[in-house]
């Protein structure tokens, strides 16, 4: 006889550790599949966070380079005398300040060699000597940039433009009416920030040359910038004073600190949202861990009873299994970190377009966070099923029929479930860096879980009458679904959530693609001309129509205007500041005037123009009414061409934005407002099909009307398609990872419940059932489960995509029938096939071996 060992003594802990190792040795093969799921989720979190953190730290180091200055002052219109005086007065107060002027505009470029029939839209930037203040303008061939390279009509271009224009360094190009010599090729340009969409390749010229050209005519889309370099401590005071000075104008002032903050905030948000996807995969893995632990503990009841019979305490046994989950969860997390490390090596260094090369490596905080979540989720999901260890009584060894645990309310279990739920909400919120998003994600999961649970109970009830059928496989498939201890609910939960997520991702992809898909109809315009002056309109129209017989060129008058106030009962916005407080209402709008409606629009409220001469009239697009609470009868004040125009809203229009043939405008005025005012035109036109013809037309247009810019949508579309392809690829990768995880959970769930079916199958076989009969039974059981999981998952996905489309992405929602029905069929098929394939052992094994083992 030995003396009882003290709880928590070293001997006691030593037993726990030894038993943990032995249990892992015996069970790891059965459990590993679920921890691979955890690994995949952790890998996704760590990979995404590492990529974005690497990008962020690289970008923050380069914040000044991104701006090429300490402070940038920018206006969309040429500086007025008054503004220049204000700026100068402020600059004079600074002890040390350097200043460079810069102008950016979109324009056309063509080779001076008239045999090369091509013209391209480019983003032209004119800079003064001294540019850039920060960063290095990197040139091809290792050449060093000097301001003198731009002097005397020199130009620096991007490598792709050389290829597009079929020219080389040393050759001449025509921009506007001026001839420039190409003196170098720019590889990296400081101050050129990432933008989702660029109108064309960048070209750098001398500021004076640009100012002296005819490109900055009325209505051109130029940005006038003043770049400043000054003492660090003077930066913010100057920015604040200038912002106050230009409070009621549309001049923008910001320092590199703001760039820093914006980059930081945007990337931070991207990091959090993307890693939520990883978190969702970890949760799927967690559901797998929960289901496996439940089955595992059922299989371990006897072992636990034996150990209790031999003197082991409940806490020791709980510790053994919790430690086992911890070790496997930790192992899974390490595997995830390793997977992420490998994946990071495959990430191209220029993946963040526009920011140059960034080396992506594993960041410590991402690895710690990912691994921590992997372990935490494993433990949280395993804890509730593990608590059943407390109820296992050694009497089980003598009387197998005795219920392993009582039916009393288990407050510890309830408290554990409550704490785990709270912990998951906290972890989800931490990942998203938002309580709201964390609560939505957790609530979504909980909702689907509850629905799946109820669906499982409903399924068992609904199919119960089928148990009276005379067809043996169906009868026993139904009985099997309702049998106590069956995995009906577990499989339905794991697979249902998986299919919910998968169908949701696919349906969302369809919605996104439909939203962005560019309409390529036969009659859709594929060439857009901007900045056509009034006196050029008829000439441009003639030229266009002569080159493409039968095609009609639509020339629309356009002006730029800003809303400076709204006068009405519910909204009273007085001045630019109030309007700016209304978000995008304060941006510059391109407006037009015309008599009637275009084919792609209809009036949904109000009516056509009236003859009321007292005030001019405007028609607004329905989103203006929805977003800014502006309605019929309200008076909007606009600043157009330096004039203030008051216009009464007489109609609300709905525009089919997907139909690009006729363009779309937020504000359309009655013609009397601007007919006599100076304005420019835009033209939409179906260009010639042959590329050579197209090139010749563009060249002739530019030669004759140098200020007119041509956007060839064929180029834009290929650029947009590249972005779409990248988005599709990213969504598909996420979808594929989730499919893989869902499959692993399913295979694991079926494999884990095999021990129950092995015994039953052995008895059925002894009683005369054939393997085929048992296989059919399994197929029916899992096919039914898969169908239900698919239906519930699909219903959840429909709801998810609707909510996301309507409220988060603000895009039109389309029911993705093919994805939903395909998803249901696929889920049913996959569950049935995996169920049967994982049970091949059950059909093949000789009954005696199983019965003897029992």
């Amino acid at each position: 006889m030995t003396a009882p060992v003290r709880p928590f003594s070293s001997a006691s802990i030593s037993f726990v550790l030894k038993m943990t190792l032995r249990e892992i040795r015996a069970s790891w093969k059965r459990l590993v599949v679920f921890f691979v799921c955890v690994a995949i989720g952790v890998g996704a979190i760590v990979g995404v966070r590492s990529i974005i953190q690497s990008a962020r730290s690289a970008l923050l180091r380069e914040a000044r380079t991104l701006l090429a200055a300490d402070v940038l002052v920018q206006s969309r219109q040429p500086w007025t005398e008054e503004q220049l005086a204000t700026l100068q007065a402020r600059f004079d107060q600074m002890p040390r300040l350097d200043r460079i002027e810069s102008i950016e505009t979109a324009t056309m470029i063509r080779p001076a060699d008239s045999t090369k029939e091509v013209a391209k839209l480019v983003e032209l930037r004119g800079v003064q000597p001294g540019f850039p203040f920060y960063g290095t303008l990197e040139l091809a061939g290792g050449a060093t940039f000097e301001s003198s390279m731009l002097a005397g009509y020199g130009a620096l271009v991007r490598p792709e433009l050389l290829a597009q224009l079929d020219v080389e360094v040393g050759e001449e190009v025509i921009i506007g009416d001026d001839v420039y010599e190409i003196r170098g090729v720019v590889l990296v340009e400081p101050g050129h920030q990432l933008s989702a969409f660029s109108l064309g390749s960048r070209v750098l010229v001398d500021h004076a040359a640009l100012v002296g050209s005819d490109l900055l005519t009325f209505g051109s889309r130029a940005r006038y910038q003043t770049l400043l370099r000054l003492e660090e401590e003077q930066i913010e005071p100057l920015v604040e004073r200038l912002q106050a000075d230009f409070e009621n104008s549309f001049v923008r002032v910001w320092s590199y600190h703001r760039t820093e903050n914006r980059v930081s905030r945007n990337l931070g948000r991207a990091e959090n949202y993307l890693s939520l996807i990883g978190f969702v995969i970890v949760i799927l893995g967690g559901i797998g861990v929960w289901s496996v632990t439940r089955v595992f503990i059922q299989q371990k009841l006897k072992t636990i009873a034996i150990l209790k019979c031999l003197g082991a305490r409940t806490w020791q046994l709980l510790a053994v299994y919790i430690l086992q989950v911890f070790v496997l969860g930790f192992g899974g997390s390490l595997l995830g970190v390793a997977m992420a490390t490998l994946a990071l090596q495959a990430v191209p260094v220029d993946v963040v377009a526009g920011y140059g090369e960034i080396s992506f490596g594993l960041t410590r905080s991402a690895a710690v966070q990912g691994a921590g979540i992997g372990v935490l989720v494993s433990l949280l999901f395993a804890l509730v099923p593990l608590l059943d260890v407390r109820h296992v009584r050694p009497l089980l060894l003598l009387r197998a029929t005795d219920a392993p645990w009582s039916r009393e309310i288990d407050w510890v279990r309830i408290a554990a479930i409550g704490s785990i739920t709270a912990a998951l909400v906290v972890v989800a919120s931490w990942q998203a860096d938002s309580w709201r998003v964390g609560a939505y994600v957790s609530g979504g999961f909980a909702g689907v879980a509850v629905v799946l649970h109820l669906a499982a109970s409903a399924l068992v009830r609904v199919v119960a009458p089928l148990a009276r059928t005379t067809w043996f496989p169906l009868r026993h498939a139904v009985i099997s679904l309702g049998r106590p201890g069956n995995q009906t609910r577990t499989i339905l939960l794991a697979v249902g959530l998986g299919s919910f997520f998968l169908i949701g991702v696919r349906a969302l992809q369809v919605n996104l693609l439909q939203e962005f898909a560019l309409d390529i109809r036969e009659d859709a315009p594929d060439m857009f001309l901007i900045d056509i002056q009034q006196d050029q309109a008829s000439g441009v129209r003639e030229l266009l129509e002569s080159r493409s017989p039968g095609a009609r060129a639509a020339l629309l008058p356009v002006l730029r205007g800003r809303v400076t106030g709204v006068e009405e009962e519910s909204v009273d916005l007085d001045g630019a500041e109030d309007v700016r407080g209304r978000g995008s209402l304060g941006r510059e709008y391109v407006v037009t005037y015309r008599e009637g409606l275009e084919e792609n629009e209809r009036i949904i409220d109000g009516g056509p123009w009236t003859d009321d001469p007292s005030m001019t009239q405007v028609s607004i697009e329905q989103s203006i009414r929805e977003r800014f609470d502006i309605d019929l009868g309200d008076v909007i004040r606009f600043a157009v061409l330096g004039r203030t125009i008051r216009a009464r809203v007489v109609s609300v229009r709905e525009v089919q934005w997907s139909d690009t043939r006729r363009g779309g405008f937020m504000f359309v005025f009655r013609p009397d407002a601007f007919e006599d005012a100076p304005h420019s035109f835009i033209a939409m036109f179906r260009g010639p099909e042959a590329m050579a013809e197209r090139g010749r037309l563009q060249r002739d247009l530019v030669a004759r009307y140098s200020n007119v810019s041509i956007i060839d949508v064929r180029d834009v579309m290929s650029a947009a398609k590249e972005i779409l392809d990248a988005v599709t690829l990213a969504i598909s990768v996420v979808g594929a990872i989730t499919v893989f995880t869902g499959m692993l959970i399913l295979i694991g769930s079926v494999a884990m419940t095999k021990f129950q079916r092995l015994y039953e199958a052995a008895i059925f076989k002894t009683l005369g059932a054939t393997s085929r009969m048992i296989a059919t039974m399994t197929l029916l059981e899992y096919g039914g489960l898969g169908t239900l999981a698919g239906i519930v998952g699909s219903a959840g996905a429909v709801l998810l995509t609707w909510v996301l489309s309507r409220y988060l992405l603000e895009i039109e929602w389309h029911p993705a029938f093919a994805q939903n029905i395909g998803g249901i069929v696929l889920t049913a098929g996959v569950v049935a096939v995996v169920g049967v394939l994982s049970s091949v052992d059950v059909f093949r094994r000789r009954p005696l071996a199983t019965l003897r083992a029992e």
Binding site: L310, G311, R399
Partner: protein, 232 residues
């Protein structure tokens, strides 16, 4: 020393109470070898389970070596079993994921015994299975499994060894071997042995036989001057 005072067990069968063990007094002095015989459902395994603290009686007190165990918590009972009671089951109940040697080692580790490995090796030798140390239960015959189970039950030198149908799943040769082992334990170690059996031949070898039917003791065969059981 085992003492039961007015111990009974009633369970609920369907909606009705069913008494599977009627109130009983029992006294088994240290070092005695007792067999409990009776048909299936007579309450003998229930009685053994109650003595081991695997189940709680509906009424009465159970004293093991001067400790009243019916008031002890599950963990305290586990601790008591670990140090005072060895149990041998009809179906062996070895832990399938552990080797034969590890199965013997477990109770020693739970009790925190120093030199556990040496002791386990000694026990393995004692039951004649040192060659089978690394085998898992599924790789052992029924007789071998039961010998490992006996070695495991003896690991902590418990003063009491309880055996529930220890030969019930074995052929006669293996059964004989196991019986020899149990008697040897009783003789050499002075361990109190209580075994439940169907086997009347086995029962006759023990010093005392307690016969049960329908939850009551039917016949007492006492050693001279030692009353062992009576209806409470």
């Amino acid at each position: 020393m085992i003492e039961l005072r007015g111990v009974s067990k009633t369970v609920t069968s369907g909606d009705r109470p069913l008494t599977i063990l009627h109130p009983l007094d029992l006294f088994i002095p240290s070092g005695q070898c007792v067999s409990i015989v009776g048909p299936s459902g007579s309450g003998k395994s229930t009685l053994l389970g109650l003595i081991a603290g695997l189940d709680a009686p509906t009424t009465g007190e159970i004293w093991i070596d001067g400790v009243e165990i019916t008031t002890l918590s599950e963990d305290a009972l586990a601790s008591l079993r670990g140090s005072n009671i060895g149990f041998v089951f009809q179906f062996f109940h070895l832990i399938p994921s552990l080797s034969a040697f590890e199965n013997i080692l477990v109770p020693l580790e739970i009790a925190g015994v120093t030199g556990a490995r040496e002791k386990a090796e000694g026990l393995l030798q004692e039951v004649g299975l040192e060659e089978r140390a690394t085998h898992y239960p599924s790789q052992l015959s029924g007789g071998e499994q039961q010998r490992i189970a006996i070695a495991r039950a003896l690991a902590n030198d418990p003063p009491i060894l309880l055996a529930d149908e220890p030969t019930g799943n074995l052929d006669s040769a293996n059964g004989h071997h196991v019986v020899e082992l149990l008697l040897e334990v009783n003789r050499r170690r002075g361990t109190t042995v209580v075994l439940v059996t169907h086997d009347t031949e086995l029962a006759e070898i023990t010093e005392v036989t307690l016969s049960m039917r329908d939850g009551r003791t039917e016949r007492r065969q006492a050693a001279p001057g030692e009353p062992v059981a009576r209806e409470a």
